[in-house]
Symmetry: C2
Subunit: 229 residues, 2 copies
DNA sequence: GTGGTATTCAAGTGAATACTTGAATATCAC
DNA sequence: GTGATATTCAAGTATTCACTTGAATACCAC
């Protein structure tokens, strides 16, 4: 009645998708690519692995179809193959945060104590953006900003923030956002800004969730601020 | 700046969720449990594995928190730990069906050719239910029907269908549903009914998707049809 | 208590996995 | 064509994994 070998193969195929996400390093890769496409060497740098090893992880993601490639001269850029992958990755994090016992400790060990940091949800931010009383600050690396960001956001990568504080408009609350809930950039930015007495909060989630929710996005280089020449 | 070991551990924790779904047998278990709770021996039977092996797979699902247990005398019933798990499993299937190259062949090898079988979407079915011109037929095993089904559905497990054809009301189109898109029960039912000249189609998706979509559900034993006693 | 059943645990085996190292390809600049 | 760079491939090793078998545990009926 039921065709056991065929059923097993079908479910092995489903499982192959989960399996390829079942490595912390590949999960980090997907998390990085959720911000936009990247060449191999940069991905390797992001996940702290050798290029050869990173390449092999990317091959596995490619074989299952989670990523695609684009050649540009001698470099090969990887990107997620579609929004279904973004949703899958979000579903994994959601289940982990609800059901994996140690996740809270691990998150706190990486992110530090967030109790003192206020955060805004997406809808709160859209409301305040409409009211015009906030500055939206994208603290991801600039190329991630270029490949897509919240409309009207200012790009100041967290590594440059300390030196570029003067570029930021005063008098309005600054809402910093980054790659997502489990990314430290916005936290660091908020702490840095507060130390200088500037009012700052973080967006609870990050750019991929914003885009996935169908909210407006914008792409391209940041406007130069300040300006000798 | 970034705490590599802590970040790796955090992403290993995310990945542990995906990893545990990264086995065809455990994926089958999750698919079975999406219909409702089941004791170990029945799960083993469903996935065609030994009880010892099934138990170990269940321990792994338990360790990561995807399932919970309930003891009833000497038997232990497993169930999914929440709707986030159902959504995760749906996301896995969605990505697989969009991006895994061989999935179509594998699905066809297991399900047979579906070209000849019409199917209805959830919304089409709710419309026709409101119009009152369909009979909804649940062809899953009866205990799955009891733990939750589409309101007003008649329960006739596919294995009993051939012998109980007379119990079904005539004159209206029969819409059969089962565990989901990749379940053969409804297909078999539709074929059986059509061979007898009865108008039948299948619901595209299955009971878990119906419930997850927030549509009304009903639980409890089926009404006896026909009746000596 | 004894006997029976459902489930889990423990040990063993063959296959698959992650990462390393060093060599092979492919494109570009010239 | 040559040299330089980005990426992939191949081989090797230590670890992890899926499944089997047989024993241990936990509950129930009596």
């Amino acid at each position: 009645m039921s065709d056991r070998p065929a059923k097993d193969k079908l479910f092995d195929a489903f499982a192959s998708v989960a399996k390829v996400l079942g490595s912390g390093r590949r999960a980090e890769i997907v998390d990085v690519l959720a911000q936009g496409e990247r060449p191999v060497d940069e991905i390797a740098e992001e996940i702290g692995q050798s290029i050869a090893n990173t390449s092999q992880h990317l091959q596995q993601l490619l074989r299952v179809g989670l990523v695609r490639t684009r050649r540009e001269g001698t470099r090969i850029h990887y990107r997620l193959s579609g929004t279904a992958v973004t949703r899958l990755w979000a579903a994994v994090r959601e289940v982990a945060s609800e059901h994996v016992a140690e996740l809270d400790e691990l998150a706190e060990a990486y992110l530090g104590d967030r109790a003192a940091l206020d955060s805004l949800t997406r809808t709160e931010l859209t409301n305040r953006m409409a009211a015009g009383d906030v500055v939206v600050l994208d603290v991801r690396p600039e190329h991630e900003f270029r490949s897509g960001h919240i409309p009207g956001a200012v790009s100041v990568p967290v590594r440059e923030l300390a030196g570029r504080m003067r570029d930021l408009p005063h008098g309005r609350i600054i809402v910093a956002y980054c790659r997502g809930q489990y990314c430290v950039f916005a936290d660091e930015a908020v702490r840095t800004l507060r130390e200088q007495g500037m009012p700052a909060v973080r967006l609870e989630e990050g750019y991929p969730e914003w885009a996935e929710a169908g909210l407006p996005v914008e792409a391209g280089a940041p406007r130069k601020s300040g300006a000798p020449g």
